[in-house]
Symmetry: C2
């Protein structure tokens, strides 16, 4: 039996950075470096663009932003001694690169540049970065580590395969991989495959935190060369995972495994960027690390929404949020998420009954506010509505009341919420869901008025699912049962129901998923057995509502394709289907 080489202690700093907060991010990184050293780690790994935050978007066009980031890297390097730190940053050389700095002995020992730049979905990396040209390895106490950044590892082949061929026993991947439903599990399966492809450990350190429309879920991983899980960090929270691995086993597997032909697409020269010594690990070492259990779908989405809200509110410096409670399910769920994210004292609500609001819905709204323990404002609409009626009487003479009058009412609510927001500096949360945003069943400047649209990417069927999940884990009553049972209504005219204007939500959500997320067309939808007239109507509504969505607040992406940066459609567009 071959002698067992020294194990490697590796720290994964799953930190929550903030875009543009170079000082704050650098402090968090230095904190991670110190903790890694204190815990005896030889290597500390930080997420993609940890210094700048992700995604910095057009901040990357400011040369002084890049210079400030580079200065921070040098300052962090000065803190790194007796170990190696791998720190993501935006590098300004003869071009701009999405890079990973190898810090050791107080300075930058080498830089790896991301080779695959995603430019689809929410990603615009080719807008900013030049692609790196060389796979790279480093040696730490005789163990060879291959370096990759996020997208680099999603496809089989280089750079990881070239690095493995060049002797890497560990493939490190630093990421800022945004969340959508089920993404963590999908990513884990992919990384297991990469470990097996390359007969190497995979050490994956992901960003955690909310940034505008994106949530980064953490879920950092260590996987061994057989594809077995070694360590897994929790989702949606900062984690500091210290993990001992035995890379020599990877070497032994390779010697034994004659299949060892990593799928190199085109072999490239692999640069050895640094060879670093760190204090050896002595004594008994238990190979492995903590293994958080992945969340079930309901709590996973709920957790993403809470983190998205908390970080948007906190990183933008708001003390408190405000929302309108209608007694409907959407505002009830939004309020519940806000309270779970921020605590009841940081959430206020307004109940704004109109003559079309039923007693029951108003009562439910008040009961929910009590259940949640949040401050409640009562702002009746009737007088204001009547003043508008008067102001518009002449212009509207001879017309029948309709959508215009309904929207006036919704916009009064928007104006009242914004008045409280402007007066007290609170952030207004909007409560519309993805199904409504899709078909334009929302009032621009009315219920769409606010700074952050919590449920913007949550289909109505999922709103119910999340409300049921949250109620199930609550100790007492949370969202009143009558809210969950009542047929959805905008309550903008007497006896209004959503299903008077829209197909049933089950069918609507199926069409929307195919049309929006899967880019399926009319013919394909009809071939699935969906009724042609419903398909035509929904497609028409979705296309016509593009102008509203363009003015919608940002919301949290939880699906493979959210509105916002993720889906870029023209307003002026004559294509249908």
């Amino acid at each position: 039996m071959a002698p067992i080489a020294q194990p490697l202690r590796i720290a994964l700093a799953q930190i929550n950075t903030t875009v543009g907060d170079i000082d704050g991010n650098a402090d968090a990184i230095v904190g991670g470096v110190r903790r890694a050293r204190a815990e005896g780690a030889q290597v500390a790994v930080f997420p993609e663009l940890a210094v700048n935050g992700y995604p910095p978007e057009d901040l990357l066009l400011k040369t002084h932003f890049l210079a400030a980031g580079r200065e921070a890297v040098d300052e962090i390097a000065a803190e790194v001694d007796d170990m190696v730190a791998l720190v993501g940053f935006a590098e300004h050389a003869e071009d701009v690169y999405n890079s990973l700095a190898i810090l050791a002995d107080g300075r930058v020992q080498g830089i790896y540049r991301k080779m695959f730049l995603p430019n689809y979905g929410v990603f615009d990396e080719q807008r900013y970065f030049q692609a790196g040209e060389s796979p790279a390895v480093i040696e730490v106490n005789g163990t060879t580590l291959g370096l990759t950044i996020c997208e680099d590892i999603w496809e089989p082949g280089p750079p990881a395969s070239d690095e493995a061929l060049a002797g890497a026993e560990v493939i490190v991947n630093v990421s800022a991989s945004p969340y959508h439903m089920g993404k963590g599990a999908e990513r884990e399966r992919m990384l297991v495959q990469r470990a097996r492809d390359n007969l190497a450990y995979v050490v994956f350190c992901n960003l955690v935190g909310g940034q505008d429309e994106l949530v980064f879920d953490g879920y950092s991983l260590v996987i061994d060369q057989d594809g077995e899980l070694v360590a897994r960090a929790a989702q949606f929270q900062e984690e500091f995972v210290v993990c001992d691995i035995d890379p020599s086993t990877a070497q032994r597997v390779r010697l034994r495994d004659t299949r060892h032909r990593p799928t190199a697409r085109s072999r490239q020269a692999v640069a050895t960027l640094a060879a670093v010594g760190a204090p050896a690990r002595h004594g008994a070492t238990e190979i492995g690390g903590p293994r958080a259990k992945p969340l079930e779908p309901g709590p996973e989405v709920y957790g993403a929404l809470c983190l998205g809200v908390r970080d948007y509110v906190d990183k933008n410096g708001f003390e408190r949020v405000l929302l309108g409670l209608s007694g409907g399910i959407d505002s009830a769920l939004t309020a519940t998420i806000a309270v779970d994210a921020l605590g009841p004292e940081r959430v206020a609500c307004a109940v704004m009954p109109s003559p079309y609001s039923s007693e029951e819905t108003q009562e439910d709204a008040r009961r929910l506010a009590e259940n949640l323990g949040i401050e409640r404002f009562e702002l009746p609409l009737e007088e204001v509505m009547s003043a508008y009626r008067q102001a518009l009487a002449q212009a509207f003479e001879g017309t029948e009341p309709g959508v215009a009058e309904e929207n006036v009412q919704a916009r009064i609510r928007g104006n009242l919420l914004m008045a409280l927001s402007n007066k007290f500096g609170w952030l207004v949360l909007t409560t519309g869901n993805k199904s409504e945003y899709s078909v334009g069943y929302t009032t621009l400047y009315g219920d769409m008025a606010g700074g952050f649209a919590v449920l913007k990417d949550v289909p109505k069927t999922w709103v119910y699912r999340l409300a049921h999940f949250r109620n199930a884990v609550a100790p007492g009553e949370l969202i009143p049962a009558s809210v969950l049972a009542r047929a959805p209504s905008a309550e903008l005219r007497p006896d209004q129901r959503d299903e008077d204007s829209l197909p049933p939500y089950d069918m609507l959500d199926e069409i929307l998923e195919e049309y929006i997320e899967e880019d399926q067309g009319r013919e394909q939808l009809i071939r699935r057995g969906l009724p042609a007239e419903v398909v035509d109507k929904v497609i028409r509504l979705v296309d016509l509502a593009e102008y509203k969505r363009r003015q919608a607040p940002p919301g949290i992406k939880i699906s493979p394709k959210a509105f916002g940066r993720d889906r870029r459609l023209p307003i002026t567009n004559k294509f249908r289907g």
Copy 2:
């Protein structure tokens, strides 16, 4: 003396396509083909992605959209006989390409694929397209034409240089090159240089028309091998330029010119895609074509704004537009542009005085409406304001009136305009300018409420300039002199003036241009001699207003960097300066 070869008659169809309107665009192309044949042209050139419209954005992710475009190309091809048509379309092969179809003898003879895909500014072409790999030439009656698409020709070198080396006497460039101030002249200088670089004619056919935030200015050009202008199409309107050129002169120049070494960066194989015969031109031919005179800066920007408004309104199917007239310069200019774009019968205005509106401004608003001959609604705010005061009395108890109350007032106006919009189906034009959008001196859901923000990219100093220009060419009084003379005020509280809250507009606009368009930082601005405290204040205001701009309506890009797709900054962002 060498014998003079046959001249070539070429038609440049500077057409106004609509995104997604494949049938309509195909009709326009077929119309151009027929007209070209009727006028004896051997080659007809159409803009980039003429079949699909530009930019189709995420429509390109729908395979059925691509298939529909390809079908249209084949249908167009069936109409092409005895000549060659060069038609841009999105090609779906093993990947998706931004392509140029060579149509002759009733079918697609070959396809050139764009090699340089812009992915900066407003462009996202790497999101959709794979780059082509081969320069290409075609032969028409013995003349060799090199093919390029838009970005392909902006840098010296391939593909144009390779095509010239392969014998091209004419470099064709089909474009969808968006307008900003002075871009046409800049483009002409560049193309003159390319003609000289390659000792070849340059035939440049550009799109014209408005598409959401972009205006394409037309300004198609034919330039000879010495860099001399042969033909120039007008800006901001459809044009059909028929031009005779004598490509044999290019060949003669090359034989004579020993410097003929086009700046090939890396020589690539050039494909000859088609050799086509067309009826020869006989008889006396006057070499050259029409030469439109480029507009001066004032009328140029004004023309772009008119086209942008007209196409947004018409392509989105609105009969009429509506805007609030305050008596201030911004709404006055917006109304004037709308009338010039659409005619007075398609423009309505609302005058909405509050207790803080002065008699003079209201009078000016009414006078302007009369000068323009547009319908006017009078909607006084006082009663509605008082109803809001009452509704908010309890919540606001003990607070001083301030921004919250001012914004209520602005949002009442927004609600009234939207009520008219919803009732009658009119598009609301907003009137804020770029300086205001930059520093957030606008009310979200108030004066920002509307479907299209005409002056969104026009700095305040340019608002004055455009108003003066337009008044100067008007026969009688247009914008009252008192509107131009009055100090700017939002009139949301007594005796308010913009310059109480903001630096003087000359200084503000200078800072904004450097900070926004040039990505200069705090230190660089101060080094220019701008006062540090003003710089700090403006930068802070610009950064803080990002959340407002994210919910702003689209507006017309007239500067090198507009808000919208052109400038993508995070809302959550702790970087300052």
